[in-house]
């Protein structure tokens, strides 16, 4: 297969997202469960690219309600919506997300967690998907003169239900956060998506983004905690948008 055709196929595979992760899901998950807390979380992503590329001003959003059911298990129910360039926003999928905390923060060399989600498409004829894999985090107390937290998500994805492909995808995400203060700390994030690891192709054909993000929280005592993240990611490959703005708002309330 020639390189241009291969590139177009990889781009189409990415756009069609055969392993079905919502693009608003571009955020790094931590291996920590907020036990006895209920949370509302919104993620948004607007991507930019060449006109007609499928990326230019594409939008995706997710809104989720989550509960820390056990000290080691948090579950979220999420609604995902997307808008292709020039089109209106429409509901895309409903997803059940589970985060399992396997170690207490600081107990071992690495903080470990496990993530598992089932996403069901609400669009006729489109398959659902299953996504799961480990979350690994390292706290480095004296990195570049300050405390830092480095987190890796390494998730496998697979279609579930009629109409799905047999492809297994790999979704990876990395965040290195320099902890300056609770209100605003800078981070660098990297995201990648290989829709079919059996035919991963060249890196340039895969989706990969990286960029700076600001992370912070405002604690309001018994009125809960507002957490926020916002950043601009730059496409690293020709199979990626040129850039993307992403944000996350999260409100947590203990019960």
């Amino acid at each position: 297969m020639s390189r241009p055709i291969l590139g177009a196929a990889a781009l189409a595979a990415t756009l069609l997202a055969p392993v079905g992760r919502a693009r608003a899901d571009l955020h790094v998950r931590w291996p920590v469960v907020d036990y006895r807390e209920v949370e509302y979380e919104q993620n948004g992503l607007i991507s930019f690219g060449r006109a007609g590329s499928g990326f230019d001003r594409a939008q995706s959003y997710s809104n989720a309600i989550g509960v820390g059911i056990l000290p080691s298990w948090e579950m979220e129910l999420e609604g995902e919506s997307e808008a292709a360039p020039g089109e209106g926003l429409r509901m895309d999928a409903v997803t059940m997300e589970n985060t399992f905390q396997l170690t207490d923060p600081g107990e071992y060399q690495f903080n470990l967690g496990f993530y598992a989600e089932y996403s069901r498409s609400v669009r006729r004829g489109r398959p659902g998907s299953v996504t799961l894999g480990p979350i690994v985090q390292k706290e480095l107390p004296d990195f570049l003169g300050t405390d830092s937290i480095h987190t890796l998500n390494l998730f496998l994805t697979h279609d579930a239900g009629p109409g799905g492909t047999h492809a297994t995808g790999l979704v990876y995400a990395w965040q290195s956060l320099l902890y300056l203060n609770a209100f605003a700390s800078p981070a660098i994030e990297i995201y990648g998506n290989i829709p079919d690891i059996a035919h991963a192709g060249h890196f340039d054909e895969q989706e990969a983004l990286a960029g700076p993000v600001l992370v912070g929280a405002v604690r309001m005592g018994r009125w809960g905690t507002l957490k926020y993240q916002a950043g601009y990611l730059v496409g690293l490959t020709s199979g990626s948008p040129r850039g993307a703005v992403r944000w996350q708002l999260e409100y947590e309330l203990a019960f």
Binding site: L6, P134, I197, A217
Partner: protein
């Protein structure tokens, strides 16, 4: 295009292998024996309200909830938060810390506050 070696492994086997590898790498104890410090939290607040620990070392805080209702030990400075059921106890792993003060509080009753002081002469 040839399939990658991973193509011959079932996807959920791959996930199990990835997680197993992470557990093997990550489950090594951060430190064999860490100094332990006791802290209690009840309706009247933390006791002691000032806790001295050695700077530059990993330490364990054993926090006991002596009250009749759940509490949440929380510290933005230490990047830790854990709910403690009534009558229960938790271990909070912190450090190594720079010399200085680190505030902590009960997130369910934010007026109940304390300070962890990391200093060179605490041992």
């Amino acid at each position: 295009m040839h399939p990658t070696p991973l193509a011959h492994i079932r996807p959920w086997t791959s996930a199990a292998l990835l997680t197993g590898a992470a557990l093997l790498i990550g489950a090594a104890p951060a430190s064999a024996a860490r100094p332990r410090y006791a802290l209690s939290l009840g309706p009247a607040g933390f006791a002691p309200t000032e806790l001295h620990v050695p700077a530059g070392e990993r330490v364990v805080l054993r926090v006991t909830n002596t009250g009749p209702a759940p509490v949440e030990f929380e510290s933005s400075d230490l990047n830790r938060e854990r709910v403690i059921p009534a009558g229960g106890a938790i271990a909070v792993y912190v450090g190594p810390l720079h010399p200085g003060t680190y505030a902590f509080f009960d997130d369910f009753h934010p007026r109940l506050r304390g300070t962890l002081i990391a200093d060179r002469a605490a041992r």
